[in-house]
Symmetry: C2
C-alpha cells in the first residue's frame, strides 16, 4: 500500500517509473549489467540520454533555438551559474519568496542586483505584478512557482531583456512558451525525477555572454559542446527522468497533465474555501496547483488534524516553518484519488470539530 | 547471467547493493514510499546519510579531525573547488596523466601552478618519484590512481605542505592514512557507488583558507556546516553507496579487500608477464591493481582477441584511445572469478595464435 504522498520534494514519482527503474538495476536491456554499471559513453546509456532529451523537447515543444542539458548540483548551483554566465553589470530579479531570495543572494556575489518587485510585505503570499522591467539589465530572473509559499506565476511577462526562469517546482505541470526564455532550469525532484539531476533548457546563442573566469563545470558552454557528457553524468537519475517523461507522454503530455492538475486544484481549493475550519494562505489569483498552503483557523487543533491525516495514510502535509499550518503538494504524480482522501479527511474533521 | 564487467567506470557494483536498492524504490523501510520520494530531511533519509558517513569513517579509519561530505558534480567539479578553496598564490601539482592534467588546467584558472614532476615523457606509464615538494606552495595535488594509464601511487610522500588527493579510481581498495591529507575526493562511480555523487573527506580546520568570491555551492564550508544537506543531495546515489559500503564491511573492510585485489592483480599480471603474446604498458613497480593496461604484441590481432573475450561474456576491456590495446579494470566489486575467465581467454588465445 503506497501512501498519499503530499511531500514538497523530493516528491512522489509515478509507479511506472519506479518499476522500470527496478528492472534496470541488475540487468539493463538484457545486457547482463545494471544501468549504473555501464559506461556513460556506451550506446545503451547514450540512448537513455537522447531519449530523455527528446522527450523534454517533445513535451515542452522546445524550439530548435534551444538545447537540453542534464546537470548536477540542483537549482542551488544554477543560482550561481546564472549570474556567472549572464551577469556583466546588473540583473533584475523579482523577490517572490524563499527561492528567488536565494537566487538574489547568490547573484549579488557576481554583480549588481536590481530587485524590481517584491511580495515580502505580505510574507510572499502573492505574486508581484505590474512591475516595469528595466532595459538596462542583463536579464530578468523569475521563479515560476514558489514551493514554500504556494504561489505561481500565471502569466509570464513579455520581457524586453533576456528572461531566465527557475521552474523547479512546476515544470511539466503546464505548457510553457520556451521561446520566451534564454534559460530555464529545474531541479528534477518535484515533477521530473529524483534529486541529483537538474534540467537546463538553454538558448544556444545565449552562451558566452560573460568573460569572467569560471570553473569549467559552471560554464554552460562546456556542457552544450559535450551533450551533457563532459564528465560522467548522474546516470541513474537521468534514467528515472526518462521513465517519468515516458509516463507523462503516455497520459497525454503537459496539456492533459494540466487538466488533471486543475482537477486536483479545484477539488482541494473548493474544500478550503467552503470548509469553515480552514483557510488558504495564498492570494486566490496566485494559488499554485503544485503547492497549496493552508491553515486551520484554530491552530490549537493542528496536531489533531495531522493525526487524522496520518490515520488516512496521508504524509508530507506539515507546512513549512515560514508559513506554518499545512501544505499539500500536488505534483504531477500525485493521483486525484489522494486529493479526494485528503478532502474527505478535511470534511470529516469539520464534522467532528466544527 | 551477469557479464564479467571490466569497464573503467561507471564500473561493476556488488549485486548485494543492487538488490537492496531495488527493494528501496517502491517501498523503502516499509514506509509506503520509495527512497527517491521522501524528503531529504526525513528521518529515513537522514539515517541513510549518517550510515553512509559512519561507514566511510569506519572503513577508512577517518580521524576526528576530518569530516565526510557527499557532493555532486564529480571530480571535475572538485578540480575547481580545490583551488577555489585552497589556492591563494601558488600550488604544486604532479603531472601523472589525464586526470591530474585536468586538475592542473582547472587550477590555472585560479592561480599559479607549479608542476613539480611529470611522467609525460613516457606517456604517463610510470609514477613520478623522488621529487622535492616546495614549501612555498599552498598545497600539493596528487592523484592516487591513473585510471587511463593504469598506474598507482604506492607510497604517498610525506608532504611539508597540505596534501590533496584525487582518489576517484582506487578509494576503498586499500587502507589509507587519511591524516596525511587535508582533502581527499573521489567520484563514486568506480569503487563506491553510481555516478552522481562525490565523496569528500576534508580536514575540518582547513576550510576558509581563501577569501575569493565563490559560489555558495563551491564553498566546502557550506556543506560542512550543513552535513551535506545545504540543498537536496543525490538521495538514490547515496543510498547505493551506503549499500556498497555495507557489502565492503561484510567482506572484512579495506584490509580484506586489498588482499582480494592483490589476488586479482597477481593472477592477471602473472599472465601478462608469462604469456608471450601480451605485454603490460605500465612500469611494473607502478602497476595499478584497479586498472591494468596491456597490449597484444601484434596489434593486428586486437579484433580477434576482443571477439574471443566477448564470446566469454567479458565486457569493457577495450583500452582507452590514448594508450590503445586493452584495459582490465578490476574494481572492488569485480569477482576473482571474472579475472580467471579473462586469464583463461588469454591462455587460450596464445594456444591458438601463438
Amino acid at each position: 500500500m503506497r501512501k498519499h504522498n503530499f511531500g514538497a520534494g523530493p516528491g512522489i514519482l509515478p509507479e511506472y517509473a519506479l518499476k522500470k527503474t527496478q528492472e534496470a538495476l541488475l540487468d539493463f536491456n538484457g545486457i547482463g549489467m545494471g544501468v549504473m554499471e555501464i559506461s556513460h559513453r556506451s550506446k545503451d546509456f547514450e540512448a537513455v540520454l537522447n531519449k530523455a532529451k527528446s522527450l523534454v523537447i517533445e513535451l515542452l515543444k522546445v524550439p530548435d533555438t534551444h538545447d537540453i542539458l542534464f546537470l548536477q548540483g540542483g537549482a542551488s548551483t544554477q543560482f550561481a551559474m546564472e549570474p556567472m554566465n549572464y551577469l556583466n553589470k546588473k540583473a533584475a530579479y523579482i523577490d517572490q519568496g524563499a527561492w528567488s531570495g536565494k537566487a538574489i543572494k547568490e547573484a549579488k556575489l557576481f554583480g549588481e542586483v536590481n530587485v524590481i518587485a517584491s511580495s515580502k510585505d505580505k510574507n510572499y503570499s502573492y505574486q508581484p505584478k505590474g512591475y516595469t522591467i528595466p532595459t538596462d539589465c542583463d536579464y530578468l530572473h523569475i521563479c515560476s512557482n514558489e514551493t514554500i509559499h504556494g504561489t505561481q506565476v500565471k502569466t509570464f511577462p513579455t520581457s524586453p531583456i533576456p528572461m531566465i526562469c527557475d521552474m523547479s517546482s512546476d515544470i511539466f505541470s503546464r505548457p510553457v512558451d520556451v521561446s520566451k526564455f534564454d534559460l530555464i532550469y529545474a531541479g528534477a525532484q518535484k515533477n521530473m525525477g529524483p534529486s541529483g539531476v537538474t534540467l537546463v533548457i538553454i538558448k544556444k546563442d545565449s552562451v558566452g555572454r560573460t568573460n569572467r573566469v569560471k570553473p569549467t563545470m559552471m560554464d554552460y558552454k562546456t556542457h552544450l559542446e559535450n551533450n551533457s557528457l563532459y564528465n560522467t553524468p548522474p546516470v541513474i537519475a537521468i534514467l528515472v527522468c526518462m521513465h517519468v517523461l515516458e509516463w507523462l507522454k503516455s497520459i497525454g503530455g503537459v496539456d492533459a497533465m494540466q487538466k488533471i492538475n486543475q482537477q486536483k486544484y479545484d477539488l482541494f481549493y473548493n474544500e478550503v474555501d467552503n470548509n469553515p475550519m480552514f483557510t488558504g494562505t495564498a492570494a486566490p489569483e496566485d494559488r499554485s496547483p503544485m503547492n497549496a498552503c493552508f491553515l486551520l483557523k484554530d491552530s490549537a487543533l493542528d496536531e489533531e488534524f495531522l493525526a487524522m491525516t496520518k490515520a488516512a495514510d496521508i504524509v508530507g502535509i506539515k507546512g513549512h516553518r515560514s508559513v506554518g499550518g499545512f501544505r499539500a503538494s500536488m505534483y504531477n504524480a500525485l493521483p486525484l484519488e489522494s486529493v479526494k482522501v485528503l478532502v474527505d479527511v478535511m470534511k470529516e474533521f469539520a464534522r467532528k470539530k466544527g
